[in-house]
């Protein structure tokens, strides 16, 4: 078992607020590691620090052994760390297809190409179409992102992350705002993607989390109070106390 990600004594302060408080966490290569916790526990803040969007106050983030805590977001993306956003972040004037194709283009090297039409370059639109197909949005490829329904924008957000072909995929509540059908589709998709990518999944839908995760970490006030298999987490008394109601603890059990 190789540790894809090792988070060591990670701290993040917003003024006096400890959004991440001495967090230690390992993510094994190929696993789907879910991060759960109540609102305001610091899950999004953690994803932001892992992706490089926000700088950690102190601590280390090792990606396959290399400390990446001081690298910029683009540098981390080039190493294969890609995030999706809890609050959809799209280029609203571009079509769904162009949004995804840009991810493919960015992966393909620099973009200092000034004349050739990139919008019908099949090297980019081909894989982009695949990614849209995977999330079930292929039929809306030509629609401007800003005109997609909220649930569709969530699907697009996921397609963009997939098209970047990450080694480590950081998903911040990908199902939030989706309808039941779309959520099911994403759960199926994540199950399919599971072994191919290392995934950190922040999600509120406990059914999905317990169905998908290899391991789960529970965050409370920026601190990790437990890590374990779904079975272990369900039984953990500290977790029951701090966060999971009896309902949620029963979720996913046969």
């Amino acid at each position: 078992m190789v540790a894809a990600l090792e988070i060591v004594h990670l701290h993040k302060m917003f003024g006096a607020l400890k959004a991440t408080d001495d967090l230690n966490l390992d993510v094994v290569e190929g696993e789907l590691h879910a991060v759960i916790g109540p609102n305001g526990a610091g899950k999004t803040t953690l994803i932001s620090q892992l992706s490089g969007q926000a700088a950690a106050t102190s601590g280390e983030i090792r990606f396959f052994g290399e400390n990446i805590a001081r690298l910029s977001m683009p540098q981390r993306v080039r190493r294969g760390i890609v995030r999706s956003f809890q609050i959809t972040s799209l280029c609203r004037e571009f079509s769904a297809l162009t949004n995804v194709a840009l991810a493919v283009q960015a992966r393909a090297g620099h973009s200092f190409r000034f004349l050739r039409n990139a919008q019908n370059d099949s090297r980019f639109t081909g894989p982009a179409m695949n990614a849209l197909d995977q999330v079930g949005l292929a039929h809306r490829a030509d629609v401007e992102a800003g005109h997609l329904a909220h649930g569709e924008q969530r699907q697009l957000e996921l397609a963009i992350a997939l098209a970047a072909e990450p080694k480590l995929l950081l998903l911040d509540e990908p199902m939030a705002g989706m309808g039941a059908d779309e959520s099911h589709r994403v759960v199926d998709l994540l199950r399919e993607l599971k072994r191919r990518y290392t995934i950190v999944l922040v999600e509120h839908d406990m059914d999905a989390v317990f169905a998908l995760a290899d391991r789960i970490s529970v965050l409370v006030y920026g601190h990790c109070i437990a890590t374990g298999t779904p079975e272990e987490i369900r039984r953990d008394p500290a977790v029951r106390n701090a966060y999971l109601g009896e309902d949620a603890a029963d979720a996913g059990s046969p």
Binding site: S72, S89, C91, F94, L102, F112, N117, A118
Partner: protein, 336 residues
């Protein structure tokens, strides 16, 4: 573009044709039309519109397309003009021009002076961009303005070259096989330059580079999350824009045979911004329509009253408020 046009409803297609066709015909045959009407003055106005459209297009590239609100863009236009005029001055006065350790002869040869002028504008844009793009938002706006003011006062201080009063060129630049002093030739040269520039910008917008620049304007965080560092792309865009602005300056000084600090003043920068706002921010044809409207409007009101800015200002505000996408929005239907 054609595909897009054909996908529009018939009514809109006709509307576009009705608007664009007469304009295109007028642009193509302006010299003959004004010849027949015995109004050579208006050919000069038409040339002026083309040259300003080129300058406004360069600003539109960074401001409308790239979302970088540069308030001092006239500086790059003015640098292009000044370089051509200064080289010509040294040629006609037969005084060598000393630049620190280098001493060069002046020239009126367009093949020499123009590339030097464009390079100078480009280099200035690169340096100013490199510094100001480190900041963003209001700071960026203020820094571009501060640099432009510096260049303006520098131009004012150039006593040898007329200082405040500016300097006159004895004749237009010499190009092989083209007599720019002929006003019809000059007009077509400006028209071809603008057309080439618009074709370039059209291709640029759809290229990999263009998608990245537009993406940065729409959502910078998203682009970073795709692994794209905005700075080098924005700087390149700014530099390209500086080169086009410099070229517009080259044509401008040739059109007027005159350049003064007013040509790189803040007032001129605001005029360019006004043209873009009138024509349609970020659209390919906006700068041309805006330049046409602005210059003709100024001319028309100017013959009626010396207080024309009093009427022109409010007219601008009305256009910006009620036709948010500018004049282009009247021809091209909005997104549904």
């Amino acid at each position: 573009m054609l595909k897009k046009l054909l996908s529009l409803p018939i009514k809109h297609r006709l509307l576009i044709l009705a608007g664009v066709a007469p304009l295109a015909l007028l642009l193509a045959f302006a010299p003959f039309v004004f010849e027949v009407l015995e109004q050579p003055f208006y050919l000069r106005v038409a040339s002026r519109i083309l040259v300003f459209a080129l300058a406004a297009s360069s600003l539109n590239l960074v401001l409308g397309f790239g979302g970088m609100v540069s308030l001092g863009h006239a500086a790059f236009v003015g640098i292009g003009s000044y370089v051509v005029a200064i080289l010509a001055w040294h040629a006609s006065n037969e005084v060598p021009l000393s630049l620190g350790p280098f001493v060069i002869a002046g020239t009126t040869d367009g093949l020499v002076a123009w590339p030097v002028a464009i390079l100078a504008a480009m280099l200035s844009a690169c340096i100013i961009g490199a510094i100001s793009l480190r900041t963003s938002g209001l700071y960026f706006i203020m820094i571009t303005l501060a640099f432009a003011q510096m260049i303006y006062y520098y131009a004012v201080s150039l006593q040898q070259y007329g200082g405040d009063d500016g300097m006159r060129m004895r004749g237009r630049s010499i190009l092989p096989g083209l007599d720019l002093s002929n006003r019809t030739t000059f007009y077509y040269f400006a028209l071809a330059s603008l057309a080439l520039c618009l074709i370039f910008l059209f291709c640029l917008a759809r290229s990999r580079f263009g998608l990245v620049i537009s993406g940065i304007r729409q959502n910078e965080t998203r682009m970073r999350a795709l692994g794209i560092e905005p700075y080098p792309y924005q700087l390149t865009c700014f530099t390209i824009s500086g080169a086009i602005a410099g070229f517009a300056g080259v044509l401008m000084v040739n059109l007027d045979s005159f350049v003064s600090p007013a040509d790189l003043s803040m007032a001129r920068s605001s005029e360019l911004i006004a043209m873009i706002l009138i024509g349609g921010v970020g659209s390919l044809w906006g700068p041309l329509l805006g330049a046409g409207f602005y210059i003709l409007g100024q001319l028309g009101l100017g013959t009626l009253t010396t207080y024309w800015p009093l009427f022109f200002g409010p007219a601008l505000i009305v256009i910006v408020l009620f036709a948010r996408r500018g004049l282009v929005g009247l021809f091209v239907p909005g997104r549904s």
